[in-house]
């Protein structure tokens, strides 16, 4: 399996790059018309005017020098091909300008990816220093290198940042937002995001103004509005930085969602304040009307953003209802609609981040129910891939831009900014939690408050906003940028590096690495209903009451409209159960043997918990119907896959998705399974002799790398044996089954018709009570780990198409 996976790596790697590059390239003209002109761009490193005119004036990144070095040998090679006077047909020509932009973009992305890769190769470094810090250092080095060679390094341009780099990260965050925790703490998050950010902005702005007035160190020309603008830029907690650091420290969910939620939702405040002060700074006088309008615009920006997001989210959900025939483009709808939501919001200067989050949150449950399992995996992988590449690029460019940008270092300004930033954050958090704790049932402890205050990292959004400032109106832009970069570096390096030891030192509750068990799901749902009931009884229309109302509305109308087919009626518990079963089955296939089912379920059989059950039930595995079906599906799927590769490739269609089939035919199959059970029982009454010793079955399936190894120490147990050594018939599952039937070495019996490639053997007639279903999972801890991995990645791992393991950000 490993070898096969390894072989496929290059093509897999190339695909995403091409994709991003294509996307970036395709959007370049748009960027062009968007007013890159008025932005300060770093000088293109090419001094040749002819070359310069050939390329687009607003190029995305200036070339790092190694590019030109790399192509130099090529030039030499090609020169013999040219004969100067007579213009012969150029056998080998060079036209770098033709490919320059995509070439450079891919080069940067490649650099980012290689860096990320490199950090994981040396684990000792990344244990101490967060990845974001390392990336910034790399950026600094690269920038220094470029500068040392005499070129001018590129600067993280605001448009690139806001239009291309930021959206993937936010969509990833929004799509996989832990909704339950988020809504449960929404009040607190909103207060931190809105009031906290406002407080930070005004406190900082005001104090900085005071500093500018008194110190008399040449800062007198900076007015109050400019200072407030600066305050509003620097005061917002940055989602990218927070994510990068918090994912590594594995803090408990409450703190994570509080800080992260704040960083997401404060976008609206930042956008409004930014535009407000930028506008006002040009006015001579600010009237009360202006302030009122500014206040109004906050609501418009935030609610408008959410509205745009919800609209696109609903459209996306509705679209996904009809994609069942063209599965390949399913993931694209999710990306496109969310991106459209972001752009549409930005179009009106609404909060794009809010729009993106809203659309992700709204579309997810419906889209997930509609699309195929593979599409879901694709979405997951693409989002994670995009966001981690974006994040890496952002940090690298932050470093490069630091070297590249012009700086104006003013000790008073920078140091007081840093100090006031920290003071404002601490005071804000303390004050607000004091207020919030009056209403919260789960109070925020002093430790929590400390982490919230300490986790207020600043990042690239502040830098980009600062970069956006107009030089004409804000002559002190360079000084602002220097101060912003200092604050960013301080928070990312000092706070980011010390937060992990501090978390350990303070013994802040960490995230519990729990897999969600079916019991917990039942209990949670039970508790939800109970609390709703109690709220109704005591007449308090609280959280649970409204949630219940919303759920009912969702079930009654939304799901019907937005989800196709049977699954719209599927209650949450069933859906959860199916998902879990699926994971276990996949897990099972992954672990390479039925003997080692990682799930806890495997160690106990129906017999153990229900001795009163009929003998019919006794014999068959626990969880029989569903589990069997799932396993069977997965196994068959795997068989099929070996075959699929032989199939002629068609760009527009995917082979019928066996998972889909599994979902849809669940009910039908269950029926079948029951029949099987009956027949099986008949069959089992006749003791069959040992047909398949484990070694034999292993030999038989040895040809397939995904072979199953029934555990040998389970002599008395019914063993599910799979026989993948089936001929290369690409046609259909049924055909496979037919053939499997032929291969099966059981005495021919009618029940095989139902078995679909899964053959059950019972070695001896079992004495009552000695039949366990599956053997106890011996290697529990490694399989648990695998389970965790599987939870974060429900994709069908052994699928060669998707088999490339995803490396999560926080490793």
């Amino acid at each position: 399996m490993q070898a096969r996976r390894g072989r496929r790596v290059p093509s897999l790697r190339a695909l995403p790059f091409l994709f991003i590059v294509a996307a970036l390239l395709g959007l370049l003209p748009l960027l062009h018309s968007h007013g890159l002109q008025h932005m300060l761009t770093s000088e293109p490193p090419y001094r040749d005017p002819a070359v310069l005119s050939a390329i687009e004036p607003g190029d995305v990144t200036a070339a790092p020098p190694d590019v030109s070095q790399e192509i130099r040998p090529l030039t030499n090679h090609s020169s013999p091909g040219h004969s100067k006077p007579r213009k012969a047909f150029p056998v080998l020509g060079i036209d770098y300008t033709h490919v320059r932009i995509p070439f450079e973009i891919s080069l940067w992305i490649l650099l980012a990816c290689l860096m990320k890769l490199g950090f994981h190769v040396i684990p000792s470094v990344s244990n101490i220093v967060p990845e974001s810090c390392l990336l910034i250092v790399v950026g600094l080095l690269v920038g220094g290198l470029i500068k040392g060679v005499g070129e001018s390094p590129p600067i993280l341009k605001s448009d690139i940042f806001f239009l291309f780099l930021l959206p993937p990260i936010i969509l990833d965050a929004g799509y996989f937002l832990p909704l339950r925790q988020f809504t449960e703490n929404l009040g607190t998050i909103l207060i931190f995001a809105v009031v906290g950010t406002l407080w930070n902005a005004f406190f900082l702005g005001g104090l900085m103004y005071a500093v500018c007035q008194i110190s008399g160190t040449g800062l007198n020309h900076i007015g109050l509005l400019a200072n407030l603008l600066f305050g509003s830029i620097i005061s917002a907690v940055d989602p990218v930085a927070v994510l990068a650091v918090f994912e590594e420290i594995h803090i408990n969910e409450l703190l994570h969602i509080l800080v992260f939620g704040e960083s997401l939702l404060n976008d609206a405040v930042t956008v409004v304040l930014y535009h407000l002060f930028e506008e006002y700074a040009n006015f001579d006088q600010v009237t009360v009307t202006d302030i009122v309008l500014g206040f109004l615009s906050f609501f418009v920006v935030s609610l408008g953003g959410v509205f745009v997001g919800v609209v696109y989210g609903v459209i996306a959900a509705f679209t996904s209802r009809f994609t069942s025939h063209i599965r390949v483009i399913e993931p694209l709808f999710v990306f496109l609609y969310s991106y459209m939501a972001y752009l549409s919001a930005e179009l009106f200067h609404l909060s794009g981040i809010m729009a993106l989050i809203a659309s992700g949150v709204v579309m997810r449950p419906y889209v997930e129910a509609n699309i195929s399992h593979k599409s879901h995996t694709t979405i997951k992988y693409f989002l994670k891939m995009w966001s981690s590449v974006s994040e890496t690029l952002i940090f690298i460019f932050l470093g490069v831009s630091t070297v590249a940008g012009q700086h104006y270092w003013n000790w008073t300004f920078v140091i007081s900014t840093l100090i006031f930033c920290l003071i404002a954050r601490v005071l804000g958090v303390l004050g607000l939690t004091w207020f919030i704790n009056k209403f919260r049932i789960v109070k925020l402890t002093p430790k929590d408050q400390f982490i919230i205050a300490y986790g207020g990292l600043r990042g690239a959004i502040a830098f980009s906003l600062g970069y956006l400032l107009d030089y004409e109106h804000f002559g002190m832009r360079d000084m602002f940028l220097t101060a912003i970069i200092t604050v960013i570096f301080f928070t990312v390096f000092v706070q980011g590096m010390t937060i992990r030891p501090l978390v350990d030192l303070l013994a802040v509750k960490k995230k519990q690495e729990t897999k969600r068990s079916i019991n917990e799901e039942i209990h949670t749902q039970f508790l939800d209903h109970l609390l709703t009931g109690i709220e109704d009884i005591c007449g308090h229309y609280g959280h649970h009451h409204w949630k219940d109302k919303l759920n009912r509305f969702n079930k009654k109308y939304m799901k019907k409209c937005l989800i196709a087919g049977e699954r719209s009626k599927e209650p949450q518990l069933i859906a959860f159960y199916h998902k879990m079963e699926m994971k276990q089955a996949i897990e099972l296939v992954e672990s390479g043997g039925l003997g080692k089912i990682p799930s806890a379920i495997s160690t106990v059989s129906m017999q153990n918990i229900n001795p009163k059950a009929l003998p019919v039930e006794r014999i068959l595995p626990a969880l029989s119907k569903d589990k069997e079906e799932e396993i069977r599906k997965i196994l068959r799927n795997n068989l099929q896959k070996t075959r699929q590769r032989l199939r002629s490739y068609n760009r527009h269609t995917l082979v019928a998705d066996p998972y889909e089939e599994a979902w849809n035919q669940m009910l039908l199959r269950r029926q079948k399974a029951r029949q099987l059970e009956q027949k099986m029982n008949n069959f089992l009454t006749v003791p069959s002799h040992k047909l398949d010793s484990p070694t034999m079955s292993r030999a038989r399936i040895g040809s397939d790398p995904l072979a199953y190894e029934p555990k040998s120490d389970s002599e008395n147990l019914p063993i599910i044996t799979i026989d993948p050594a089936s001929p290369q018939s690409p046609e259909s599952v049924d055909l496979v089954n037919e053939e499997l039937k032929g291969m099966s070495r059981l005495p021919p019996s009618p029940e095989e018709e139902e078995e679909e490639g899964l053959v059950m053997h019972v070695k001896e007639s079992s004495s009552p009570g000695t039949d366990d279903v599956f053997t106890p999972g011996a290697g529990d801890s490694p399989s648990n780990q695998r389970m965790m991995r599987c939870l974060s990645d429900p994709g069908p791992r052994p699928d060669p198409e998707e088999g490339e393991p995803f490396i999560p950000k926080g490793q």
Binding site: I518, F526, H540, I601, T603, S605, I609, P611, L623
Partner: protein, 214 residues
């Protein structure tokens, strides 16, 4: 006792017993009278007056919990027919949020109390164990909002959950070993992942009397 809110000592006594504030008791008393229709006691039928409760899939379990003597701390078994205001408050007190000034021991006790209440809701036959049968019933009820659903799937979920519970609580089992049901200790174990003290609570303040409730 139901109409006793005119006597401050008695309210104070109730407050001490149940941990509610006077204000909360007043609120709850108003609500109690609404449900009981100004009677001193509540009977099972009284809960029909709460329209919102009708849609609750575990309605019968909730109502039953109010009359469970184990929850009322009266006896270890059986149901009463009617409860008075004090009993009502006792039940409600299971849903009080934790307080800041509780020490570890109190917290633990508080947590256990809440879980006991839940456990009693699952364990309908008082034998101290949630048997497979009872568990199946619970899951069936949870899914009862969906009429299209087969009983079969509810059963298989319950079976799966039970097996999971057995393997969590007992670990490896011999084939002839029998796991009779989830005991309270096992129940505690299973709830470890869910922060019960941060979840199982209802806000009792700011309650407005509901107009459409007779």
């Amino acid at each position: 006792m139901g109409s006793s809110n005119s006597m401050p000592e008695e309210i104070q006594e109730l407050a001490d017993k149940t941990g509610f504030t006077l204000e909360q008791i007043e609120h709850l008393h108003r609500r109690f009278k609404q449900i009981s229709g100004d009677q001193p006691t509540i009977r099972k039928e009284s809960f029909d007056r709460i329209p919102d409760l009708e849609f609750n899939p575990i309605r019968s379990k909730i109502v039953r919990a109010f009359f469970d003597k184990r929850n009322l701390r009266q006896a270890s078994v059986g149901l009463t027919d009617e409860i008075n205001f004090e009993d009502f408050l006792t039940i409600m007190s299971y849903f009080r949020p934790i307080e800041m000034n509780m020490d570890e021991e109190q917290l633990d006790h508080f947590r256990k109390e809440k879980l006991k209440f839940l456990f009693h809701m699952y364990d309908s036959d008082n034998d101290g164990k949630i048997t497979l049968h009872e568990y199946r019933k619970v899951v069936e009820e949870l899914l009862s909002g969906n009429p299209h659903l087969e009983k079969e799937s509810a059963r298989s979920i319950a079976d799966g959950a039970m097996m999971e519970a057995a393997s969590i609580c007992v670990g490896q089992m011999e084939p002839d070993q029998v796991y009779e049901g989830i005991t309270f200790e096992d129940f505690l174990k299973m709830w470890q992942g869910i922060d019960i003290d941060t979840k199982m609570h209802v806000r009792f303040l700011n309650m407005e009397p509901i107009a459409h409730c007779h």
